[in-house]
Symmetry: C2
Subunit: 360 residues, 2 copies
């Protein structure tokens, strides 16, 4: 086994080595203060500076306008599936949803528990092998928002262009936030679990337009109200300090790498290497339709499940780890988020060539 | 500033140095696997073993019976304030609450948002300087449970003996779990944020009797149902992996120190040193009534607010940090959880003597 493996896991996922090294140091002795990072009071000036810096870097990297709040919450994207309709839909109101995979379906289920979700489009009949284009669906005229998942980790599909509608957009950006440049202003709310492209598990980023903070009904529990957290700068209760710290460190690293625009170029190039390999042969078959391909999660199949199992096992022995596809569709998946090194992709392509030669 | 300060913060709080050193190593390279701890998929066999070990150690240390589930959740104790009544109270049902401080009050507020909280006792009139004894209050005959906070961090009070009632107990044990031996069987549910006595911020332990899992109404959002997490071993969605790992490491350390019974003796001795100092003079005055004193948080005042500010400042210069009382009552507070070293208490007592001599 090499010193450091290439970790193709879909999340929690690879983080920059520099960030891990810095975290290791700060956990034992933060800024040489004689106290560990995770021992710091969340109300200490040291930790407040950590949280402020993380927010400032996110605002800079994503060009978040001043009328949006940046929140660090707990409970994962799965909790957001409920918080979004609980906060944004009043009695009798509804929203349109694009069903492009497992995570969209879960969000639709939660919305229907508390209000009404109109499914404007579904790609389920073709095993979620694509995302819709503008014109493929109609948003309900009464919808309060259009909800979509920008990148579908399990199926390896991604919206290259975001939906265009007069309705406000709400987006689960868990698996491609910070991977490319985009305009936030059509969005009312964006959320993202950190553990794919931004940090460790345990913190969820919410970006919310501030006029939406007052919509929640009076009997909604305090911790489920966005306003609770917005009013207190995510410090209403003890926040997930370590995870916020790592997000800040990842943002620092991302900025040093040239920001999201530079990262987008690198992501395109990494993905092109793998899709190029897949398209050069009939041995490997991509799951996603070409026009819906994800730059983050590359899903593909081999001729038989037996060959797929062998492929995953032998790749693992070469330090190419975590290539097993999600249990719901099987096959193989290479997750290559921002922090995943180009060399790992090159090595995987090389392995794919050798494996094909040996088994075709 | 010494190499390592004594951190009297109420939470996040001091952790064992051995645990921090191990975490630093594992963050960069977990078990020499060539992958960092926070990069591991939560479904990898490596992380599953981490979570299983944390649960097994908690079960062993707290002697948790087999008919209780152990859950690792997100959102802090503040989210539990709502989840408890949302899951345990049906329409028109109520529960009795003992109002012994800020955290109890917050729990009462959340219960009243979704059901009815009967306040069986309140010590608010005397600034929460004590907790009630059995016989001081009556539980509502229609109550589904009696809710109390075992240790009140802000006011420095603690239940030396738990309430005795025929009703099932529900307890917020955030600030004294694992500090002493107790019998779990009168409890229906216990919860505790990790960041005081158990680990870093970001994970909340819930111990729930399994017959209570089916009480939640059908329209409760999935993530707010205890059953969701119980059915999936806290892996319904990505759990806060790092925080769970640290809880496991702290439990390992605690077991090596002799378990909760040995820890209880140490805690009694540390607290006795400080209360002995306070009782030996009129210069320092304890906030809590003697019969309600906490072994975890020692609250006290000096003759004037000016002297308190000077005391906190000068102590800080000697590496005795975090002694400022909570903003709601002012004064001083020394939080001395399990991992707080005896020597730090000895040093504080010595400083208190010197400070008194210089200023009385």
């Amino acid at each position: 086994m090499p010193d450091r493996i290439y970790n193709f896991s879909p999340g929690p996922a690879t983080l920059p080595q520099e960030v891990l090294a810095q975290a290791a140091q700060d956990i034992v002795n933060f800024n040489n203060k004689g106290i560990g990072l995770i021992e710091l009071s969340h109300r200490s000036k040291e930790f407040m500076a950590v949280a402020d810096e993380a927010e400032a870097l996110l605002r800079e990297l994503l060009a978040i306008p001043a009328n949006y709040k940046v929140l660090f919450l707990q409970g994962g994207a799965s909790t957001q599936f409920a918080m979004v309709p609980l906060n944004l839909l009043g009695p009798g109101q509804k929203a349109s949803y694009l069903n492009t995979g497992t995570w969209a379906k879960k969000a639709i289920k939660e919305a229907n528990l508390v209000a009404e979700a109109h499914v404007a489009y579904s790609s389920e009949a073709t095993t979620f092998d694509h995302v819709p284009k503008n014109g493929d669906y109609e948003v309900d005229p009464a919808a309060q928002y259009l909800y979509f998942v920008s990148n579908n980790t399990i199926y390896g599909t991604q919206f290259a262009d975001f939906p265009k509608t007069e309705k406000m957009l709400v987006c689960d950006m868990s698996s491609d936030i910070l991977s490319r440049k985009f305009d936030i202003t059509p969005f009312g709310l964006i959320f993202a679990g950190a553990q794919k492209n931004m940090g460790p598990a345990g913190v969820t980023l919410v970006i919310i337009r501030d006029d939406l903070l007052d919509r929640a009904p009076a009997n909604l529990p305090t911790m489920l109200r966005y306003k609770t957290h917005a009013d207190k700068g995510s410090m209403f209760n003890t926040p997930p300090c370590f995870a916020i710290y790592v997000v800040g460190q990842v943002c620092k690293w991302l900025k040093a790498m040239g920001g999201v625009e530079a990262m987008e170029e690198k992501n395109k190039e990494k993905a092109a290497l793998l899709y190029g390999m897949i398209d050069s042969t009939d041995f490997y078959k991509g799951h996603a339709r070409v026009d819906s391909r994800s730059l983050m999660n590359i899903t593909f199949n081999l001729p038989t499940p037996e060959l797929e199992a062998l492929f995953i096992d032998q790749a693992g022995q070469e330090g190419l780890d975590g290539l097993k596809g999600h249990r719901s569709i099987g096959g193989c998946r290479a997750s290559i988020y921002n922090a995943f090194p180009r060399q790992g992709v090159v090595d995987l392509v090389d392995f794919m060539k050798r494996f094909e030669k040996a088994h075709c």
